[in-house]
Symmetry: C2
DNA sequence: GTTAGTACTTACCTAAAGGAAAGCGGTTAC
DNA sequence: GTAACCGCTTTCCTTTAGGTAAGTACTAAC
């Protein structure tokens, strides 16, 4: 009983591995999380995003937005002004990532600290 | 005050983005998490890992193991038997990923459920 | 009519990840 | 000696992500 407290068993792991890989494949890439964070803060137009995420090309931005739209993280809203305004909005579903992104950030921060420590020791 | 409850502010996000990207870069790749999960369950030799992770080539396995060793997730232990036994072990540090992997797994699972649901609606 | 802005698309290129197959240096069994 | 096993390394190849630059279709202002 106590043995399994720290170590999940094999089936649990292989099942969980699939889930983890699914999650990572959705968040993968250089821009996805930056895009989600940007749109969660405020809805934006194509050019505004391009301006905020310095370095992203229109081709890549268009692809990432389509991808995020397919996964229901982002909604593409067309407003019938003249000319039409196209506004990208984060969905409520994208906010389900909140605790996951929180964990990633916390772990990433402590890991960088740890790397810094071991650099110091080596020098 | 209440406004910031759901939405982190901009600086918080750009700072956190770096952490998230750091964490993801460490976990990235087709095999890293599978490898960590495998070694957390039990220490193994090169050939045993190759057998368990069906499809991984020796070249990629060697590279991933070196990578994980550098990041202190895995320890390469050489036992002076004849011939020497080389055993790869998960470190305690690799267990700090536990809650992160748990979150990734939970989110990935519910996401796949959600995708299944929307497939049903479309058909 | 030309210029500028918006929201893209297209074509081309590069770098990195990863797969396939073979080889290599050592040991051990026959 | 030769065959097999272990722990890799090397070479070559394909796929994919992403960058650059240019172009397109529409609108609107001057």
């Amino acid at each position: 009983m106590i043995i399994n407290e720290a170590l999940p068993d094999k089936d649990e792991c292989t099942g969980s591995l699939r889930n983890v890989l699914d999650a990572l494949s959705v968040l993968n890439g250089k821009w996805k999380i930056a895009l989600i964070l940007s749109l969660v803060q405020s809805s934006k137009r194509f050019n505004e995003i391009q301006h905020e995420l310095k370095g992203i090309s229109p081709k890549v931005l268009a692809k990432e937005l389509k991808d995020l739209e397919l996964n229901d993280f982002v909604k593409r809203c067309v407003y019938p002004t003249t000319p039409v305004s196209i506004i990208y909005e984060a969905t409520d579903y994208s906010r389900t990532l909140k605790s996951l992104i929180g964990e990633l950030s916390a772990w990433g921060e402590q890991h960088r600290e740890k790397v810094k420590q071991s650099m110091r020791k080596q020098s």
